[in-house]
């Protein structure tokens, strides 16, 4: 792929020579449990990165704390494994002061939605040029299995032996409510789909929020099994495609329609026809369409859309910040320290 595929990366220096997946591997032993979904995501990211065609040294991965947040150690780029929940804030400082970098945030459902929820939603509304990958395993992995803000109500965990009491967040609804300009979802087990979503996120200038369903085989195994099990996955998964009518099922036999009562309903295309099918438009300025889609699936994962829900252009925080600097220099001239220090009201003593 040539650089021109990513005009979003126009300010980032190009790679001097083509890279391979292995160029993005580090010499650090990967310390996840055998079988953890994080491995698949790591592999997908490492093999996707060369496609961007940018200098490896201009890529930075910033993470918080959690199993998922170990990610940067395994990427042969610059990286920071920071503290719990703060990666979006740290990355905001980095991205808005360095437009020549491609900055990625890796976070978990606990890191990003529990302790770090505020930084996440503020980064999204600001539209900072960050690609935020949230590995959602619906559990706290690193601290050995407490329920997370995405765990289903009533979940029995170490900290909730009688069942959890809090209704989970829907990460996509939350991101859309926070005015995110790019919102997508993918899944660890589907390398191809995941790569396509990473590609779309990278092509987006501004904040891109990507939820990745990730299996924690130790503390919450098979959380996303209905989307993986060949027996159910076709009926459970809705693959969103830009401009296409929303249909799913092994033979695309199900479709999405608007009900007379105003909401969305699933129907059989054979019965209801193709004309009334809802067409997916991620570029709609109004996030309501994407929001409706984010509500389709319930916690059991039936009718789970994956793909890009929303991708709209809005001025990017870092761009505006640097424009203000440029403009100030252009209109007022480069700052002169002596003039600044002197100010306007001085007196002289000889």
């Amino acid at each position: 792929m040539s650089e021109s595929d990513f005009p979003s990366l126009r300010l980032v220096p190009k790679a001097r020579e083509p890279q391979k997946a292995k160029d993005f591997k580090t010499d650090q032993e990967v310390r996840w449990c055998p079988g953890c979904g994080d491995y698949a995501i790591l592999a997908a990211v490492q093999s996707f990165m060369p496609e961007l065609g940018i200098a490896r040294e201009n890529t930075v991965f910033v993470s918080g704390i959690g199993c998922s947040s170990r990610f940067p150690y395994y990427m042969n780029t610059y990286g920071m494994h920071s503290i719990h929940g703060r990666a979006p804030a740290i990355a905001t400082g980095l991205a808005s002061s360095r437009q020549d970098l491609s900055v990625w945030v890796v976070t978990g459902d606990g890191d990003g939605l529990s302790i770090g929820g505020n930084h996440l939603i503020h980064a999204l509304r600001r539209n900072v040029n960050l690609k935020i990958l949230l590995f959602n395993n619906r559990i706290y992995g690193l601290t050995k299995g407490q329920y997370s803000p995405t765990s289903e109500l009533g979940k029995i965990t170490k900290s909730t032996p009688f069942g959890s009491l809090d209704a989970p967040f829907n990460p996509l609804s939350l991101a859309l409510g926070a005015d995110a300009t790019f919102v997508a979802r993918s899944i660890d087990s589907d390398r191809k789909h995941l790569t396509s979503v990473l590609r779309a996120a990278a092509a987006h200038r501004g904040s891109a929020f990507v939820e990745i369903y990730q299996n924690c085989n130790i503390f919450n195994d098979e959380a996303f099994e209905p989307l993986k099990d060949p027996a159910t996955r076709d009926d459970f998964t809705i693959r969103l495609e830009d401009g296409a009518p929303i249909r799913w099922g092994a033979n695309a036999e199900h479709g999405l329609y608007r009900s007379p009562g105003n909401g969305l309903v699933a129907g059989e295309v054979a019965e209801q026809g193709e004309a009334g099918l809802l067409v997916h438009d991620p570029h709609n300025d109004d996030p309501s369409h994407a929001f409706e889609l984010s509500r389709l699936a319930d916690i059991s994962l039936a009718r789970t859309p994956i793909g890009v829900f929303r991708a709209v252009d809005r001025p990017v925080y870092d761009d505006m910040m640097s424009d203000q600097l440029d403009k100030a220099r252009a209109t007022q001239g480069e700052g002169d320290l002596a003039t600044l220090l002197a100010g306007s009201d001085t007196w002289t003593i000889d």
Binding site: Y78, M80, H81, S82, R86, N118, H119, T346
Partner: protein, 622 residues
């Protein structure tokens, strides 16, 4: 307005306090008088004092806003203990400030506001202007409001608008009384009200009316002159601490060659640093108003990783919130300047009042052994130099530095001799751009032998890709390590790095003019003025006393222990319960006496002088 038809008497110094309702414009009045005074060439020192509410209810005690100014024909150190002149715009202002007024002082009172209702509001049963309770003072009862309204009756403005100009009347009167230059104020009013000519002309007229009133009234038989001060030669301006700090950071950016990045969340009394820096985009300054203090310091740390001169500014409660991230900075060993403009605590405390009670928070307020250097300015203008010093330490040692200013320094002001840019220290920073191992590898925790600083290799540098984090790292490689001996080494190394800064800081500057002192007064931060003024007083009484004031709180200057042990007694006055005293006692086992006042206000020189005298006498008796 220079003709003087009355006698002019010479004074060497005067302390004026303007006090009124929050809505009366006292801060503006004080600011203007200060500017006039500065441009006249006096030495000066100011103390604004206002409530935390935007506009507390009119006429109440909590609503009183005051501004004190001390100016002189010689160098002075404090805004003064007790005003020579108090301007009281209403009964609340009178009541709130009277106790500070020495007998015989001038008291200019706006009689128009002394209505029954206003008196009752603040608990005056009788009118103090009538009941003889002000006998001890030289009272000037003046209908400031009514005279202003009268003077402006020809303007097509509302009565309320006219009344609002009464502060300019008062300013005019005081300007006459102390023979201040007036052009600056006139020009200022022209600019400020450029959009509304009637209001502009009315304010100018009120100002002139005040001046003329002084000239005419029998009540004031003389006016005063205070000659310009004989300060070291140079070009001066008046500057507040927050402004000087902001300028210091811009200067540090230039001197280091690094773009400035400020991550901040508004909080009194630190917000003005954010406000000021947000103006200087032409200097390449990026300011980021974050969603909270944690994001503010986080963003700054991110910018530091990217190679900016990174700063975060806040006050005490915000510093508490930043603790965990500052700890990350200690572990990442990245340069970062954390400015804490201290205010009265604990918790929300008294946001507009000053205090020095965050020193131990700055020293110890993080989990684990997480040492950071700490510096503190001693006066408003000194904030400039202290900012440069913080930048020097942060960038040289790759460490978060805490700069402890306070509310008094932040808002107070004094003349500042503007430094020549050529004279500023060279702080040029070189990033690491090459591998640092013979085998061509790059180890992010391979240290400089002298400073123990690790390399600062910023993203974008090919071949030096590396990952850092808050987990303990192996010495050298920086890889995650849970090795017991390595951890012990790293903990000690981080401490040694900070301790090692002492080698680059000047020896303790002791002022002991006659060399005979047996008592040393040790201070830090904004108490420099009051302590210095108190020492002068004590010396004027013929006693000997030494003063040392610390800019570096961590590490201390290398000679501090020796200095302290040279004296029979060390007195440590602080606006806290004895925080520096605790540190020097622990470190040097010196029986330092702590003198504390936690009143949200600077020390009074008079009070300190008597404490110092007490200690000297005690020592002399021994």
């Amino acid at each position: 307005m220079v003709a003087m038809s009355k006698d002019v008497r010479q004074l060497d110094r005067v302390i004026i306090r303007f006090a009124g309702d929050s809505g009366d414009g006292m801060q503006l009045t004080g600011d203007r008088f200060t500017t006039e005074t500065a441009s006249f060439g006096n030495d000066l020192s100011t103390l604004p004092d206002f409530p935390a509410e935007i506009r507390a209810p009119a006429g109440t005690l909590p609503g009183v806003s005051a501004f004190q100014l001390h100016f002189a024909d010689h160098d002075i150190m404090t805004p003064g203990d007790r005003p020579d002149v108090l301007v009281a715009m209403n009964p609340a202002a009178l009541k709130a400030n009277l106790e500070d007024l020495p007998r015989g002082a001038d008291l200019i009172v706006n009689t128009d506001e002394f209505s029954k209702r206003n008196l009752t509001k603040v608990g005056y049963e009788a009118n103090p202007l009538d009941d003889g309770s002000l006998e001890a003072y030289n009272v000037h009862p003046i209908g400031l409001t009514s005279m202003t309204v009268e003077a402006l009756k020809e303007f097509s403005i509302t009565k309320k608008e006219a009344e609002r100009a009464k502060n300019m009347f008062a300013l005019g009167l005081l300007s006459w009384l102390y023979n201040r230059p007036t052009e600056g104020t006139l020009k200022f009013l022209e600019v400020k009200f450029a959009k509304n000519e009637q209001i502009m002309r009315a304010n100018i007229a009120a100002f002139n009316a005040g001046w003329n009133f002084g000239e005419t009234t029998e009540d004031f038989s003389v006016s005063y002159e205070i000659k310009p001060a004989r300060l070291p030669s140079g070009t001066y301006r008046n500057i507040s601490g927050n402004l000087a700090l902001a300028y210091g950071l811009v200067a540090a950016s230039k001197q280091t060659g690094l773009p400035l990045f400020l991550g901040s969340y508004p909080i009194t009394p630190a917000s003005d640093i954010l406000h000021e820096l947000s103006k200087h985009k032409r200097f390449g300054v990026r300011t980021f108003q974050a969603e909270d203090e944690i994001a503010a310091v986080g963003a700054a740390l991110g910018a530091a990783y990217g190679g900016s001169l990174a700063v975060t500014s806040t006050s005490g409660p915000g510093l508490a919130l930043k603790a965990e991230t500052v700890g990350l900075g200690v572990s990442l060993e990245l340069p970062l300047i954390v400015v804490d403009v201290q205010r009265a605590g604990p918790s929300t405390g008294m946001p507009t009042k000053t205090e020095q009670a965050d020193l131990l928070q700055a020293m110890f307020g993080r989990n684990g052994e997480a040492p950071v250097p700490i510096v503190a300015p001693r006066s408003p203008a000194d904030c400039f130099e202290t900012a440069l010093e913080a930048a020097r330490i942060a960038t040289t040692y790759r460490v978060p530095v805490i700069l402890l200013s306070d509310g008094y320094l932040a808002n107070g002001s004094e003349p500042w001799r503007i430094p020549a840019v050529e004279d500023l220290p060279d702080l040029t920073v070189e990033f690491t751009t090459e591998p640092n191992r013979p085998d061509g590898e790059f180890w992010p925790y391979l240290r400089d032998a002298t400073t123990l600083a690790r390399p600062w290799a910023v993203p974008g540098t090919a071949g030096l890709e590396h990952r850092i984090g808050g987990i303990e790292k192996a010495d050298g490689t920086g890889n995650i390590s849970y090795d017991a001996a390595n951890h012990d080494l790293m903990v000690r190394t981080r401490q040694a790095k900070v301790d090692g800064i002492a080698a680059t800081i000047p020896p303790t500057d002791v002022e002991d003019p006659d060399g005979l002192a047996r008592v040393l007064v040790l201070g830090w931060g904004s108490t420099y003025g009051p302590i210095g003024a108190a020492c002068r007083r004590v010396r004027r009484e013929g006693l000997s006393v030494a003063q040392a004031h610390l800019r570096h709180l961590n590490p201390f200057p290398s000679d501090l222990g020796d200095v302290l042990r040279r004296y029979d007694r060390v007195l440590v006055p602080e606006m806290n319960l004895g925080q520096l005293a605790m540190l020097v006692r622990a470190r040097f086992l010196v029986d330092a006496i702590s003198y504390n006042r936690v009143r949200g206000m600077p020390f009074k020189a008079e009070e300190l002088a008597s404490v110092i005298t007490g200690v000297i006498e005690e020592v002399n008796e021994q």
